[in-house]
């Protein structure tokens, strides 16, 4: 459905997106995972046909968005990073007016708006002003709006950033349903849990480049160990203790607030630490995550 080859976007001399290539297949749920400023939004805007690429090739449904902007955009539903609902209109009118931009008739849009409000659990807010909605409701309304033309492909730029945990779970549930109904999802996030939950396949991007590609499980298998041991010695000591830990596990990372030891068996690693007479303030054994993959690939954490 999407194919990008050497896709590049420059702002002045800075390459926000620096020659990335990927394919997205129909029905797939595809993610872009990366920290702030990685170039995720810029990529999404190019796919969405609102930002012209500087070089490279891009085809959405076989169409070049720079030439066939209206056609490409008619295929898509877009949820931008920043909500841009129409605050001059009421909740339900937001859906109807947006549908008009697709040339759809009122006879279709009126019942469709009600159906989507139901889907977004906003039926009782139909007549509210946008101001009166919470952050999570606005996000759900934006998603409902993006579905007004029943797109087969949905672009979601950081769909849950800034939402509280409960609102995130409601949203994830709605996205799952869309995925089940066969809609292709393309989403960006800097939350590894979101990427693990929602994405079949993802690319890890940093500074406009692709660092790795694959399913969440495959990426973890490839770039990390099964388990991770987290040790905290207090912010003063973490760095100095690191030397004394040498040799335990496959690999170690020293962060300002903790030391990570990568090992297939975390408990065993912990015993080794104790055996060396080291007494961390807290310890934690957990499974490896995409966060660890990112750390491995870039030496930095996803959220700074």
């Amino acid at each position: 459905m999407i194919s990008a080859r050497n896709l590049t976007k420059k702002f002045g001399d800075v390459a926000a997106v620096d020659g990335i290539s990927f394919e997205v297949r129909a029905g797939e749920s595809f993610g872009l995972l990366g920290p702030n400023g990685a170039g995720k939004s810029t990529t999404m805007r190019m796919i969405g046909g609102v930002s012209r690429r500087s070089s490279g090739e891009l085809a959405i449904m076989g169409l070049d968005p720079d030439r066939y902007g209206p056609e490409v955009r008619a295929h898509l539903g877009v949820v931008p990073q920043q909500d841009n609902l129409d605050e001059e209109l009421r909740v339900r009118d937001n859906l109807i007016v947006y549908g008009r931009y697709f040339g759809l008739p009122h006879s279709y849009l009126r019942p469709k708006a009600d159906e989507l409000l139901e889907f977004a659990q906003l039926t009782d807010k139909a007549k509210s002003k946008i101001d009166a909605l919470s952050g999570g409701m606005k996000r759900r309304l934006t998603i409902a709006r993006s579905l007004i033309n029943e797109p087969r492909m949905l672009l979601l730029d950081e769909p849950t950033t800034g939402l509280d945990p409960q609102a995130r779970h409601i949203l994830w549930d709605r996205l799952f349903r869309l995925k089940e109904s066969g809609v292709t999802l393309i989403l960006t996030t800097h939350y590894m849990d979101e990427a693990e939950q929602l994405c079949d396949r993802l690319i890890v991007v940093d500074k406009g480049r692709i660092m790795a590609e694959g399913s969440p499980a495959a990426l973890i298998r490839e770039h990390s160990t099964r388990e991770v041991l987290e040790l905290r010695f207090g912010s003063e000591r973490n760095a100095s203790v690191a030397a004394e830990l040498a040799g335990i596990g496959e690999r170690q990372e020293t962060l300002p607030d903790r030391v990570l030891i990568y090992a297939d068996d975390g408990e065993a690693a912990l015993e080794q630490v104790s055996a060396r007479g080291l007494r961390p303030l807290t310890t934690l054994v957990r499974r490896s995550s995409l966060e660890d993959v990112f750390l491995r690939l870039t030496g930095r954490s996803l959220i700074d």
């Binding site: 169409l63 209206p70 008619a74 920043q82 609902l85 129409d86 209109l89 008009r100 931009y101």
Partner: protein, 297 residues
Amino acid sequence: MTRTWQPADAAAAGRQRAGLRPPLDPLQSAARARRFGSLYYLEHWLRAMRGYGWTVALTAVGTPLVYLFGLGVGLAALVDANTSAAASLGSGRPVPYLVFVAPALLATAAIMVATDENTYPVMSGFKWRRTYYGPNASPLSSHQLVNGHCLGVLCRLLLTTGLYFLFLLPAGAVLEASGWMMILTSALGGLAFGLPVMAYAARIEEDKGQFALVQRFIVMPLFLFSGTYFPLEAMPLVVRWIGWISPLWHSTELGRVLSYGQAEPAWLTAVHLGYLALLAVAGWLAARRIYARRLGK
């Protein structure tokens, strides 16, 4: 262009999702948007205007009443009491002050409305409310947003000038049958000022009170030095040029020709029209470029 969307896909997707199916496929949608996109955006514009309908109605009805009563009755009594002054109005044919000032009031009202609609609403489309970014992600193009907005402004202008004209008639402020055309020419005057302002507003990245400055250093002087309340000739030559470049002066003078047949060479009338049209088109073209650049970043 390759056709990628097949009816078979719709059937497949339809089986999985119970929801309503749109009556148009994406390519049909896009074709419609290419044809009628400007009108779709106009539709949005008019719907949004309903939200502040009271303000629109109040300005459209209240402004003419207040100005006619204040200037047409009050100031006119003072000016007309001075007979020699009345004779100096309306070059060639002495007219009452009310008749002299009416086209100016109409032209001013149009420019005020055009300024209102093209300052904060345009800037907030890019900045606070970001209203342009939603439609920009739909099949509409940035040019169609510009066109739709211009059409919306034109609608409101015609509403304003049309109503104003209706108030002028019973006040006896219009002498010639051709006077009704002022509805159109003052609306054109509004666009001549409003569209360049629109282009400017679309360029503003950060609100530092630029519009207060536009209001005070551009609109206000134009309003005072454009031969509105007194003939331009009453001003010393050093400031008369303000009138010559001011769309308000051109719009007012056109109105005076239409409303009471102010004597004026035909070429000058043509200059008025041409100048207003030129400003409007230049503003429109500039706005299209700026919108495309800013929305397509």
